[in-house]
Amino acid sequence: MSDPTTFLFAVVVLSLVANTGISLYGVFTRPSLVKKFISLTIFSDTLNSFAIAIGFRRVVGPYPSAAVLSSVPEDPDELLAFAGSAVDPLPQALVLTAIVIGLAVYMFLAGLIMLYHRHYRTTRMV
């Protein structure tokens, strides 16, 4: 426990890991398709938050800045200062892609679950 920031960041990461396990348990053991679906969305949201947490960094000041320039830079030094204080934009871009593709899959799954319910009048598997 070197400093409070490290401790709190470790707590966040470990709770995300625990959340992964809990949501997977829901996917495996709940008999209702709707609850499996909800667990699956929680699983993907957890992994997305985890990916964004990997892009986090520490800076000299209190907080790192977002990966957005707030004004048009006047000289190259401003760019270097920006690159020295902003968080990693790549995980955010990848997570944006992952969210969209997840949304596509979930829309299709929701349609399938509705069909299943219409045919069998229940969403319970097993």
């Binding site: 490290t6 809990i22 320039l69 944006l96 969209v100 593709i101 596509a104 509705m114 069909l115």
Partner: protein, 270 residues
Amino acid sequence: MRLREVVVAVSVALMVLLLAYVVSAGGLGPLAPRELRELARSYLANAYNPWNVTQSSLSLEAVTAIVWDYRGIDTFFETSVLFASIVGVSLIFRGYRERPGIGGRGLSEIVKTSTRVLLPLILVAGVSIALHGHLTPGGGFQGGSFIAVLLVLATVVFSLDFLVERGLASGRLLALRSAGLLGVLATSVALLAVGLALGIDAYIFQNMVREGSELSMPQWLLDRPTGGTLLFFNVFEALAVAAGLALAFLVLSLREEEVGEAMAAGEWHE
């Protein structure tokens, strides 16, 4: 059955423990480092870099620059996956048509009035997020989701007839969705088409001046940077996502009378 649940619980707990060990042992690289990875530094330094235009997309927001410029083809196929999923949803509910006048009077007058006040505000916020995707956090997908929320809210509060009467039935939404995707496609090959017409070398998904190509999208709109193709990509993506999500919601919220028709619709070969 009990044994199965115990086995699942123990293996999930084991997975969590091992994953926690891997993370704490630094298996995913240092968490919250002081120095960024070289790739991230290069993206941050080049997203808006007028002194090194051949590697820059001249967008103030690094995430949009990555999504639509550096990894543009990836995002194009991602939006195609969304399109394919909407086609799939329409396919498993084939034969479905909105029938106006089934009833469904919506929610109470209080909710309707407050929603009437809210709808234009949501529209303006969504359009602003989409148009400023290269200047502030946000972008085409986020703005489009905002506008889709507007359509979903209108469906829930005023009933489905509200959208159908305004010409936003599923067929029209699918056409808007396809128009958005075609717009993205046209933007990605725009400079290539100009280059072919003028006999100059150009690339697919070219944004600014690149090595070996002099062509460039407009860099400034009045006194604001446009990010070249990013502005067009964001607008078309917002249109596509708004229409697509609203379409999926309409198809998933079909009513019992329409469900009967959809289920009765047979296969073409029958």
